[in-house]
């Protein structure tokens, strides 16, 4: 609000603005509230005025009148004060006489409700333990069902695509394949190279004590092929691609793009989910293979500088030490990791709210669910492999 200068008191402009103050006098029809000074926010114009500030009115008093001749300037803090005075007058049983106020202040005051309404609270009611457990169980079951039906839709779509009958756009698939594959090569390579190098370094330091340095080839090769590369690649992709999927779908939801698809009857599963899930589950095993080889290369580079073995000897030892089944195991795991990340990210995105904050929440949730899920799945795979004797 602009500071409005009351035209009536021709005070000298050079005079320093007086602090706002008020006092109550007794008028003919009741108390008279007299205000003076520069009533603005920076001058401390927001001050409390409650019903307790009005002395018990004498019998016959009907109204609280205002005297504003001492006001030099005012802004919203003055309106705030007037509003409180009006409420105080109402609770003291007095009518609020606003004729003494500047006309603009009267107009603003008329906009305000008689009382600040009690704020509408969110519908939050405290749940007891049973309700919470029940909600959680139902939610989990429901979520499992929805995710399963999404997975089913996607699988069906993928089978249709094999027959060339899919309604997926090839262009979308190619874009997604490119984003989930070649675009990730650099970061997957760097991380796996360093992991391989670290494994080789730690392994060499320990194995040297037993004069078993050559087994570092097995250590690096088996660790990378069986576990580390699959997990590290999946974690990178969960953060990189999973988060991106969730954010993209949540934004589309906020822009009503998903609604538009639904109205046209374009199935979300074939338009959005299929390219995303297909590309990540196809690319993840390939990235895993690439990551494993780079990891072994990282181990090789460190070993060459720290141990006495010929390069050819290192490779021969690696090939002899790491069986093909380790690669097959990791390859299969990577496929499931990729499918899981993409499916979880899409589901989280579709379930998101419609605001900017919700997009952030969806991206975070997709990454967290992706990473935790991958590690849990890996544990399950380890148990299964143990039972099957792989």
């Amino acid at each position: 609000m602009t500071q409005q200068t009351d035209p009536s008191p021709p005070t000298a402009p050079a005079e320093p603005a007086a602090r706002p103050a008020w006092s109550l006098q007794t008028g003919p029809h009741g108390p008279c509230l007299s205000v003076r000074g520069a009533w603005t926010v920076p001058h401390g114009g927001v001050m409390p005025f409650t019903a307790a500030d009005i002395p018990p009115p004498p019998p016959g008093a009907t109204s609280l009148s205002m005297d504003t001749t001492g006001i030099t300037a005012w802004d919203s803090s003055f309106i705030s004060f007037l509003w409180e005075a009006k409420q105080a007058a109402a609770s003291a049983g007095l009518a609020f006489e606003q004729d003494g106020l500047p006309a603009p202040a009267q107009r603003l005051l008329a906009l305000l409700p008689p009382n600040p309404a009690p704020p509408a609270r969110h519908n939050s009611h405290k749940q007891n333990l049973l309700e919470k457990t029940g909600d959680l169980t139902l939610g989990t079951l429901n979520e499992t069902g929805v995710a399963a039906s999404l997975a089913l839709d996607t699988t069906r779509g993928a089978l249709q695509a094999l027959h060339g009958k899919s309604r997926m756009r090839t262009k979308d698939l190619i874009t997604d394949l490119w984003n989930a594959g070649p675009n990730a090569l650099l970061i997957v390579g760097v991380v796996n190279f360093l992991i391989g190098a670290i494994l080789a370094f730690v392994g060499l330091v320990e194995l040297r004590r037993f004069a078993a340095e050559i087994y570092v080839t097995n250590l690096v090769g088996i660790a990378c092929a069986r576990e580390i590369s699959a997990i590290m690649t999946a974690i990178i992709m969960a953060g990189r691609t999973g988060g991106a999927y969730a954010a993209r779908i949540a934004t589309m939801l906020g822009n009503e793009e998903i609604d538009a698809l639904q109205v046209f009857g374009i199935p979300i599963s074939s338009y959005i989910l299929l390219p995303a899930i297909l590309s990540l589950s196809l690319m993840m095993p390939l990235l895993y293979l690439y990551g494993t080889l780079i990891g072994i290369l990282g181990g090789f580079v460190v070993s060459m500088s720290m141990m006495d073995v010929s390069p050819v000897g290192y490779w021969i030892s690696t090939v002899n030490g790491v069986e093909l089944k380790e690669f097959v195991f990791g390859f299969i795991k990577a496929f499931f990791f990729g499918s899981f990340i993409a499916l979880a990210a899409c589901r989280v995105g579709l379930k998101a709210g419609r605001s900017a904050a919700d997009v952030g929440i969806a991206a975070t949730r997709a990454v967290v669910i992706g990473i935790v899920g991958i590690i849990a799945m890996d544990a399950v795979f380890a148990v299964m492999a143990n039972a099957l004797g792989i």
Binding site: V41, P42, S76, S80, P104, P116, R121, H122, A356, D358
Partner: protein
Amino acid sequence: MAESDTLISVRDVELSFGPKIIQQNVSFDLRRGSIFAVMGGSGCGKSTLLKSMIGLLRPTTGKILVGGEDYWAQNEHRRTQINHRFGVLFQSGALWSSMTVGENVALPIEMFSSQPPDVVRKLVELKLGLVGMEQAIDLFPSEISGGMRKRAGLARAIALDPDILFFDEPSAGLDPITSARLDDLILTLRDGLGATIVIVSHELPSLFTIADDGIFLDAVTHQPIAHGSPRDLRDHSTIPEVMAFMNRASTIPPTDETKADQHV
């Protein structure tokens, strides 16, 4: 007209995105206390002109004088200071979605004044009370309707007691009753706050009710073709495009639609 009566002077401003010219030769004065309408068909650059006045888009050439100061010649710090005289209501409210309505209004007050929390709270209640939204203070933007979001945006726009208010399509997407109430609210706030208002709109009834000055931007020639209040232009203008616009005729000129759609 006295010098101090002019709050903003726009002088020969040209707006463009790269080689594409949006508007050129835009000149007008914004008088204190007036409600100034920026009119024109869809895509003629109304919102772009507004953006250049509130500091979001630098004009290619020309000057925008705010209180005699060349706005775009100032450094960023000074521009921010000048911006504190502005209150902007964006097209869909542009409330920050991670904050409650009350926090949305409180943020500028907390950032740019050192008032204790209870004072801030009181001011927030007041601003929301002025727009009739005091009951929504603790709700999130996603929990309120489009019309309420707009009013909450208005409460945020007046948070710092600005003396110039910019409204981008204030009544777009509102039903006629809500829209009429918003017009009343704008008029009351103008009188009560003593603010000057710039309004970008093509809602004719609303323009005729509230605006007392204005400029008409043409999408084909990319320049203003008429100045004056919407009522005046409706009753006295002889320019075919303006007549067609003001009277909602669909035929004149036939190329308008296609050309206009290429911009913005």
